[in-house]
Symmetry: C2
């Protein structure tokens, strides 16, 4: 249609969004923060309103051969809640739009919805609207979540300061290793002529659950508030620790140093990586979909953070000219790169 045609994969998702939104100007007083964080921030009355949205496509973001519809619904809702928590907000409402191809029955969609409703129940969120439509191929799920936060307590990606401590909740790489396992067993099942094939999932329940039924870290947000800790920057880890650390460093105009030995990794993740002969730290740095919280706090909060059971300090924020590096166990400096999942090149 035009002279110049550029493949989208040449820019990647973030490059495309940057290019599309670079000249967007804010016109309304109620718009506090637009494109570029986990959620948009709107100002209505005495509360800050947060809005985030996610589009999940069959064949790109999920595979129904190993993802039960109820789990899929649960996850689709929870990943949006996670974006609201990552702004130090509380999710309150969601809308759900579905595109549904002919191979799905009402019972299928009810299963999907039962997962969405369960997530809403557990996280105290109201389902307030949506849209359903036929689709030509596959299942399409678009969820928008609205949350609220308190004035002056919204946490952005851009607030990290030199000498801040870098903290991460839970452990990393588990969802990615769960995905590897699911894909291996699906391929074996496809190749197998044995109808009685049973996937080898025993003892791997934790990493499977991290992939299929992740949770948003509401508990961490509540613990931080209870302990009087206000993060200087925060985001949720959906594309991998490296990618998110680079986002925070870029938005905050800082550098960072993290320590390989401090990156929290679960035993099942480690044993699975060994079985697959994969580099464990690469999995933890670049494996996506953990939905853990990555945040920074002032150095003075060191002792308060130490009291939190499921939070680890993995490094510190530095001056921007020092770049973004991981110090390996052997003491070498390794530059962090965003090798996170790119929806336009990976398939």
């Amino acid at each position: 249609m035009q002279d110049k045609e550029t493949e989208i994969s040449s820019l990647g998702e973030f490059g495309l969004i940057d290019r599309l939104t670079k000249d967007v100007e804010i016109k309304n007083d109620s718009t506090v923060k637009a494109v570029g964080d986990d959620a948009a921030q709107l100002h209505y009355g005495d509360k800050e309103v947060l809005v985030t949205t996610d589009l999940l496509l069959e064949g790109i973001h999920f595979d129904l051969t190993y993802c039960p519809l109820k789990h899929l619904g649960y996850k689709a809702a929870v990943v949006n809640f996670s974006d609201i928590y990552a702004m130090n907000g509380r999710p309150k409402q969601i809308t759900v739009s579905l595109g549904i191809s002919q191979r799905f029955t009402i019972e299928h969609i009810e299963q999907l919805y039962s997962g969405i409703k369960l997530a809403c129940e557990i996280y105290g969120v109201d389902l307030v609207g949506g849209d359903t439509s036929a689709s030509v191929t596959g299942l399409i799920i678009s969820i928008t979540c609205i949350g609220e936060g308190e004035k002056g307590k919204i946490v952005y990606r851009s607030g990290a300061k030199d000498t801040d401590l870098i903290c991460v909740s839970g452990n990393l790489g588990a969802a990615y290793m769960g995905l590897q396992l699911l894909e291996r067993e699906r391929n074996i099942a496809n190749d197998s002529k044995d109808d009685e094939f049973h996937p080898a999932f025993e003892g791997k329940e934790y990493i499977l659950e991290r992939q299929l039924k992740p949770e948003a870290r509401r508990d961490i947000i509540e613990e931080l508030a209870e302990n009087g800790i206000m993060p200087t920057s925060m985001m949720d880890i959906s594309d991998g620790l490296s990618s998110e650390l680079l986002h925070i460093s870029k938005e905050s105009n800082t550098g960072c140093r993290i320590y390989e030995e401090r990156i929290p990794i679960d035993y099942q993740t480690a044993s699975m990586a060994e079985e697959f002969n994969m580099n464990l730290v690469t999995c933890a740095l670049n494996g996506g979909e953990d939905y853990e919280l990555l945040f920074t706090v002032p150095l003075a909060d060191h002792e308060k953070i130490e009291l939190l059971k499921d939070v680890k300090m993995i490094g510190r924020i530095t001056k921007p000219e020092l770049g973004c590096f991981m110090i390996t166990r052997s003491g070498q400096e390794m530059e962090l790169r965003a090798q996170g999942w790119n929806a336009f090149t990976d398939k």
Copy 2:
């Protein structure tokens, strides 16, 4: 996956939504109105926050062989604004999520975005977020719009009262006839071996624009406010006048009488219907995508409404036991039926 499998087309879109959302309970004080109107209503501080969402799928809701990407972007945004106006609100922010297949280049997506941005510019709306992803097939557009309204001035579908006047803005059936014309010319082009084929669009610009580049009736909402008219119920006409009148009557627990001779129809719509040998009133009753406003006002506002240039009174609200009928030019009563577009059966 289950014993009982029911095809979605047996319920239709509204039946499916009813079934999926019937047991949804509201948990948060900030949720005022959930599923079942043009938009959800949330209460944050001194403003009412309205949220609506739409999912548009290539091959179902649009056809890029005759819909330019810029127009598509414009329309995708405007139909969401229309839902906010239909609650007597003002659209303020949108989020845009895209699923993009490999045949689209960055320049294509920029064209789409230029239409979205133009709509935002004209209607004073901020683009505040979104999500882009690869898709397996075709283009997927999910837009969520956030708007605001004043306390006590949000208008629902459910407020119509016996003896209220039924009003409609603009004229009806034009977008539907525009679509018929586009589809006819596309089919001729496909069958034609002549590379120089030029579609016969002369003198049909108005109905084409109504289909390809509809506007939301902000002007009507502003006029109503300026003239001190507060509708008792309102919605926008996206599925056809019949379907929307039945929604208002059902939600308000009323009946209605409209008069065939009063239904506003443009000259181009009429001449196109004649060319296609289609029943003009059927087109006006059941043709979708007009995005005009359908609303009811108390009988006492009769004279105020008469002063509005682009609003017509087409009938009145009755007691529920009197049902929903159109009085034809010959004086016969014809029961209104929702023959609006059903995304699960029409293709």
